[in-house]
């Protein structure tokens, strides 16, 4: 099993939508890579991620995650992947520790292992002093970090992060980037979306650019920049492929 993610001819059109959100998307992501899934607003990034984690059923196509069918074996796939959604997906009136204990127990983790992981991650993400504070009282950056920890407790092989650094302070962003690199070093695969292309260029081994639900370009980040005419950065590559027309 060479690939962590294999998507074939994925198609999804929402009820009431004029155009498909994902339109025949195919891509492959090798294991132990940090891969950036890039695209303008409405390109189909979040829909693709939602299909991968079983939140949305595609109209056509198939998705294999770590060799498992993400559409038919959703529950099995969820055991081995971690998803950090764009939205803060925590119980705001519980403390970070209470949230993590509850989520860990839902994954069936042993109490001792869970306690150890929670303490380690709280420390790693700089939240050890705030573990007993309610999420509602956290700053935006702290919420983002706690949101990531909640997706890591079951030690997933594949981590999918949907704009994890959107709207966070510089220190939190640096911490998240550092974590992504470190997590990859543990042999894990990371799929990550962002509008911050400078950040993506720094972090991603490979990038995939999609637009209007279709694959546009992809490859090793450095190679892609080199191969694209007159481009010296990922941002230039992105604009080269997606154009300069504003998207809503």
């Amino acid at each position: 099993m060479l690939y962590a993610i294999e998507i074939n001819n994925l198609y999804k059109q929402y009820k009431g939508a004029l155009a498909p959100a994902v339109n025949g998307l195919s891509l492959k992501v090798k294991k132990n890579q940090v891969v950036g899934l890039l695209g303008p607003n409405g390109a189909g990034k979040t829909t693709s991620i939602n299909i991968m984690c079983g939140l949305i059923m595609p109209d056509e196509g198939n998705v294999q995650l770590l060799g498992k069918d993400a559409i038919k074996e959703t529950q099995e796939v969820r055991k081995v992947i971690g998803v950090v959604p764009q939205q803060i997906a925590l119980f705001p009136h519980l403390t970070a520790r209470e949230n993590l204990n509850y989520i860990g127990s839902m994954y069936g983790l042993e109490k001792k292992v869970m306690r150890e992981r929670i303490n380690n991650y709280l420390q790693e993400f700089g939240l050890e002093k705030h573990g007993d504070k309610r999420i509602i009282h956290y700053s935006g950056g702290m919420k983002r970090r706690a949101n990531i920890i909640a997706s890591l407790l079951h030690d997933p092989e594949l981590l999918i992060l949907d704009e994890p650094t959107a709207g966070v302070d510089i220190h939190s962003r640096a911490m998240i980037i550092e974590f992504i690199i470190k997590y990859k070093q543990q042999g894990k695969t990371i799929l990550y979306t962002s509008h911050l292309l400078e950040e993506a260029q720094k972090v991603c081994d490979e990038v995939v650019i999609i637009d209007e639900g279709k694959y546009i370009a992809g490859g090793e980040t450095k190679e892609l920049i080199k191969e694209t005419n007159n481009c010296h950065s990922l941002e230039e590559v992105f604009l080269h492929y997606t154009g300069k027309v504003l998207r809503d």
Binding site: Y14, K15, G16, A17, N50, C53, L55, I56, M57, T74, Q75, E76, R78, K79, V83, P85, Q87, I88, A89, L90, F91, P92, I103, M106, Y107, A150, S151
Partner: protein
Amino acid sequence: MLLLLLMPAVLIIVMALVQDAPFKSYKDLRFDLLVADNDNGTLSRDIIKGLKQSKNFHVIDSVKGEALNDAILKQLLLKGEYKIGIVIPKGATAEIVNLNNIIANNISEKIGLGNTLPVRNTRDSMYIKIYFDPVTQPTFRTMIHAGLDKYITYASTNMLVTRLSQLGKAGNDTSQANAKDLKKVFTGLGIKEEAVNDNIKEVLHINSVQHNVPAWAIFGMFFIVVPLASHLLREREEGSALRLSLIPNSQTSLALGRIIFYTIVCTVQFIIMFCIGLWLMPVFGLPALTLGMHPWILLPIAICISFAATSFGTFIGSVFKSSNQALPFGSIAIVILSAIGGIWIPVEILPETMQRLANISPLRWGLAAINEIILRDGNFAAVIKYLAALLSFGIVLWLISVYRNKMRNQSLQ
């Protein structure tokens, strides 16, 4: 959570106390009654004596040592100090004696006694006048009318008995009943209420506690709709619902877990409300709740009501997109369903159309099932149709909610 249990408890106590008087039969109440006796004859004395002996009226025939007359009586009523007053007109006794003599003479003639009592022509328009404080409710007026009528009839009958007895003595006819025997004839056939169920000794009556405890307990249970729908919407708005849907557990089992939890909460609420009815209501001077001969059936009824209420809350929380829509709808829907379902006023005294409409309310099904047990001493077979209705209602709404949640991500809205 404490509020969820405390507020319905306060509600049922307040409602039972507030509605205690309207639920009481008039024979259980005692009213101040102003009496102006312009007659001063046997009839008025008999009426006043009867009223004084009754438990319903406290007769007031003088104020500050001054005997009441028509004018003073009206003034007191207009001031609102008293609610009811009667004026016995001058010559009432003479008129009733004359009427009774006519009746007695007729009877005497028919049975061949041959004796006659003196009579004159009858007068028209001789009434015992009754006055009410203008704010008095029509139902209260009717009740008082009926009560007074009873005493007037009794006094008149008493006089007639005396007349007939006099005729009997005048004719030296020993076969005629004496006055005491004749009284027995008039009072021999009385009315005694007994229980319809031969197995129980006491007659079960609807009273403030028997109605309000189950009715408002059900209302309180259904009000779980508001916190439950709010909780579901908040979970969606705040993102915790998303986290739950990312965890490798069946969404159906999560939804089922939520239903079971809230059903248990509602059932506990029901048990607490009934305990208040049993043991706390008497502390407030109200009758204790009686549970009938099969109280254990109340538990499955409580579970079915709780399930229906919880499913309704889940449904509201699933079909609406925001708290601004769901919460007013949920609370107003409960108030409407409770009003048509006989929570506020027993269905039995509602107009026929409303009685038919009541059958669409799940609160009505719950209350009817409880009434079967605590008022009619029914068994499990008597409530099974209500339980089936509550369960079906709950299952249908729950399935719609599960489907709605599953489909939510499939559309743009």
